[in-house]
Symmetry: C2
Subunit: 130 residues, 2 copies
DNA sequence: CGGAATCCAAGATGATACTG
DNA sequence: CAGTATCATCTTGGATTCCG
């Protein structure tokens, strides 16, 4: 139990273009990664369940994102060898932790949407945002 | 204190395709949005400073992302009317809050990168991930 | 049902050049 | 310095089709 360095100030690392964390961060914060990880926070679910639960996701991106998350060690894929294929996805301990953080973020945004829309004013200079 | 329904179930909202939160979430979790918000957590900074600080970002995406974040009420743009243009960007109170959450997420990922790489195994079936 | 493969459209991203 | 405009490219995302 070699403890981890406390204030290890890894922060500077993240800003480096070559920081490996960026890849993981990219998967986690990808369009569907966030929603999927939050969704899986409710417990193991099947492919079809997830597709219905996360509105707007296509089968392709669902599969793709699940692979990313599986590779990163956040999601576990459990295939039951039964007649009608049955595959479940569930969070790993690592996944539970990110899921909590993402849920916190997502819920905060939902709850403060009003304040954002109120504060929303046209950009000072120009350029349009989606 | 059941005044604030714990199960305020805004969660289901997020999974809805038409949930307005998705737009904000998209900006916040965009490739550069995360890094920029975390970077601005260190205090107000100028355009050039941010560009140098966040490795790999192009001027275009820096400007673009700043506009998104300004529109969403997370960032304040302060232009000083001086000879050599001087513009500073700083977080709004709202921005400070997301910044904290994103920093938490980013730092957690950095600190657990080892565990992820260790857990990383090829996907059970196929498909390649970035 | 749970994918895999393919084709395609749209948006994100980058490099570069130009301006106030 | 702080952008803006343009063009080229890469990736994301979607629809469809096929398979075990």
């Amino acid at each position: 139990m070699n403890d981890t360095p406390p204030g290890h100030a890894l922060r500077g690392d993240l800003f480096s273009e070559s920081c490996p964390s960026r890849e993981v961060l990219k998967h986690v914060t990808s369009r569907w990664g966030v929603l999927l990880l939050v969704a899986l926070g409710d417990g193991a679910q099947r492919f079809g369940e997830l597709r219905r639960k996360v509105g707007g996701i296509s089968e392709k991106m669902l599969a793709q994102t699940l692979v990313w998350l599986e590779q990163d060690g956040f999601v576990l894929r459990i295939a039951h060898p039964v007649a009608p294929p049955r595959v479940e996805y569930r969070l790993t301990p690592l996944g539970e932790e990110v899921s909590r953080r993402l849920k916190d973020l997502a819920l905060w945004i939902e709850e403060n949407l009003g304040a954002m829309l109120a504060a929303r004013r046209p950009p000072s200079h120009a350029l349009q945002g989606s």
